[in-house]
Symmetry: C2
Subunit: 509 residues, 2 copies
């Protein structure tokens, strides 16, 4: 069967991924190392994610704010682990002016060297912690819960669009509480927010759980994540929530007078989700015809393509299309008005149809003269593109029938994408009992091994380092210890000692 | 009469401005030179501006996108005027890693010096132009119209919260067209978008017009602005729209094949509005009790303050407040659902009342036990805070009457703020016929001279420089030549030559 993309997932998953991004006009290289240009369809999906996440973040009682892009170097020197974790990959501003270099070009002005270099934020715990120290004096000032939507920069050596870019967009939630119990509970609320957003909005099944010690955020006491499975069986960390304890509060002097008059450090947390999620969306829902966007995240849920032919009849066809658009725009799905576009670009109808298929608009309706004459529309569902005989499944429906059913159709498509991905995730997690079986499972000859679920004794320090090294030889990492697992029995797959919990092992992005 | 702020506009306008920002919890110094922290109330106003502007920008047919924060130095070397205009105030990234400095601190790693320095974008014409060059091949690819919401950095020597900060937030629209006529027309559409947004949403009367040659955006053929008048009579440039001609297209090779097969450079435009607008809002609508936010931009339009007293009766009072909130939330004003908060913070009711007065929430309703018992609410209008006897004007109203009237009340408050500012603007623009009268008008002894409206011959080059110098001695600048003025007669106030248009002269932020 012929498909819209020239490379299939089976043939070359990495090339397929790049091809979806290019063919769906989502993003492109910018000419700036490691930075991409997000084009309207890619950025539009991000805006949808923002809108839906933002509502949920406000629902948790957080307020939006904005903190500086630049963080003085000295702020990073305060929390030792945090420095250690981030110091290797930050963009450093050293000058504030350019002057002619005498060779017809420009150079940083040696006279305009900053006394203290500024770091382009890789994350904002330090600068937000400094504000918390100003804001928090008494237990009455707690909790403080703020969120920001921002760009951050981490100087990555190998970059990949959406998944790992030097600059990326994200939201970061930061909060301070009086007690560790409350802070831990709120860390878990943020994790649950991410889990439910991923499942309900992105139709992306995930496993929520705790990261092992070696994968913790620099300076965190606990790091929790949601892990999604891509179609090549690799894992993608799609959101993290950190319980920071008093590490940042001690380093930055965030202290409050408790009800008894004593002085205590606050307990802080932070959590983030980024444009990386779009990479996850592609590798979860894409197929050999391009992206399939879940209806809740689709910038346009229904695209109407009138078959214009540069003829006088075009005007009537366009009226018919606009009329249907107006009718659809009065409907709602998922509690929001339908998002409907009439594509009037000066391009052939077939090119437009396949353009929207590659972009993954959930429903495309084509309207030709015959459709209009019969009061019909021709409907293409992106999630069921082909008939059994391999031909494009374009169904002629009475206009009224389509309009009456479209909201339910979008809900069904959303649910279908989620079910398909959930079935794939479940089928690809294999419980394994001993190390030899892990090695066999991830042998080089196994094409799509998915993840394995093993028991371990949760070693720490040097013993954990040894485990990490063994995994590294198989290109594996510990993804997380799934949340809510019961007590377990049996032996640690690494050490043979009594196991204390289950963890997921996988190759990962 | 006593007011909520300790400093009045009349006593010290600059100190009053800072005091509003602090007392309304809008923003604060961040500890990073020239950068501020935008707190929830300040950022919330920006989010409202974003929402309303974004709808209008989409209405013009623009798509949102995102371009890199960093721009390679060489991009700036291409457009000579653009370099000249911006090279003096840019943050330069020279390194991508930190290492221990051997003294317990960190320093930029000499081994990690970038081959080509990166500039933190002061504006994005260069990097967006490079994308346009990739996207535009044929006349069929035009127009291209994109917008981005982003942070930008200009290294200002003297900074002032919202008005002039090293980092600020803005939107920048960029477009390319086939003909100069169309590009000019679209430049004016963007200007009109700003004018109508300022008047209708921010209740801020403005004068739209063309900037003189010496105030043009670096690289522009024409720069247009909207100019607002602050309560101290100074002007604030609140938004600009630039016709760039083919300057950037030539420098960056944005060329298209026209219908006849010839190769032409595209005609580009750009336009921007920033968080500076919030500074303008404060200085337009603030009074000696703090800010007054126009209802369309208020994060909360109605704030309900239950007079809680740590007593068992509090529960019933809170129910009453929440019930009113739910009833109000079903209403709409300005085509959007009402934004209503119940303030349950653990603070005294009087402190909360004055907190919301200083923040400028349009309507504050207080609810005590007596109000509840009578089925009433006590209503404070932020735009008419005091009775004639100088006491706070808190009016007891039947709950149903208040609910029935509140949407109209918000509309009336929005209109009232606009009318008040419009009357002030009109009264403070003085037509002046000769240079001696200009000097007298702006003599040091005149406290609030406003603007003057003069005729000029539109000198260019050295003759214009001479005019600018004369104005500088009076701390004046030419704001703009108002759009849509008819033909004029008379002599140029500067040169005595026949005048060709009227321009506004003012002191400015």
């Amino acid at each position: 069967m012929k498909h819209a993309l020239s490379v299939t997932r089976a043939a070359d998953f990495a090339a397929w991924y790049q091809s979806v991004i290019a063919e769906a006009d989502m993003a492109e290289e910018s000419g700036v190392r490691g930075c991409m240009v997000m084009r309207p369809w890619g950025y539009g999906i991000w805006e949808r994610m923002q809108r839906l996440l933002d509502d949920r973040i406000r629902g948790l009682g957080y307020d939006n704010t904005y903190f500086p892009l630049f963080i003085p170097l000295s702020y990073f020197e305060k929390e030792a682990e945090h420095v250690e974790g981030f110091a290797k990959e930050m963009a450093v501003v050293t000058h504030h002016r350019l002057v002619p270099d005498g060779k017809g070009g420009l150079m940083p002005d040696p006279e305009a060297k900053l006394e203290e270099p500024l770091i382009v934020r890789p994350t904002s715990e330090t600068v937000i912690g400094a504000a918390f120290a100003r804001w928090v004096q008494s237990w009455r000032d707690l909790p403080v819960q703020i969120n920001q939507w921002a760009n951050v920069v981490r100087w990555e050596m190998r970059t990949r669009m959406f998944l790992r870019t030097a600059e990326f967009l994200w939201q970061e939630g930061h909060a301070a509480y009086a007690s560790a119990d409350q802070a831990r509970a709120e860390t878990m609320k943020a994790l649950e927010l991410y889990r439910s957003f991923a499942e309900e909005c992105a139709a992306m099944p995930v496993i929520a759980g705790e990261k092992p010690e070696n994968e913790r955020f620099p300076g965190a006491v606990e790091t929790w994540s949601i892990e999604a499975m891509m179609q090549d069986g690799k894992a993608l960390q799609a959101g993290t929530s950190h319980f920071l304890g008093t590490h940042f509060a001690e380093a930055q002097n965030i202290r409050f007078q408790n009800a008894e008059g004593g002085l205590e450090p606050a307990q802080t947390i932070s959590w983030g989700m980024s444009t990386r999620m779009i990479g996850g969306l592609i590798m979860t829902h894409g197929d050999d015809d391009g992206l399939r966007v879940p209806p809740r995240l689709a910038p346009w849920q229904v695209v109407i393509v009138p078959m214009l032919r540069d003829q006088p009849e075009d005007a009537a066809l366009l009226d018919y299309a606009r009329d249907i658009q107006a009718e659809l725009a009065k409907l709602s799905a998922f509690g929001e008005p339908l998002r409907v576009l009439v594509d009037v670009k000066a391009t052939k109808a077939a090119t437009k149809r396949w353009g929207w298929v590659k972009k993954g608009a959930p429903v495309v309706i084509e309207i030709g003269g015959r459709d209009m004459a019969g009061g019909n529309v021709s409907v293409i569902r992106r999630d069921r593109l082909y008939r059994e005989d391999g031909k494009l499944d374009s169904q002629v429906q009475a206009r009224g029938d389509f309009v009456g059913a479209v909201a339910d159709l979008l809900v069904a498509i959303q649910r279908g994408l989620h079910e398909e991905a959930t079935a794939r995730l479940k089928a690809a997690i294999t419980p394994v009992d001993d190390w030899a079986a892990v090695e066999a499972h991830f042998a080089e000859t196994v094409k799509n091994p998915g993840w394995v679920d093993v028991r371990w004794s949760k070693p720490t320090g040097a013993a954990l380092d040894a485990v990490v090294e063994r995994l590294k030889a198989l290109k594996l990492t510990i993804r997380n210890a799934p949340h809510g697992q019961g007590a377990i029995e049996g032996a640690c797959v690494f050490t043979g000692a009594p196991a204390v919990e289950r963890v997921l092992l996988a190759r990962a992005y």
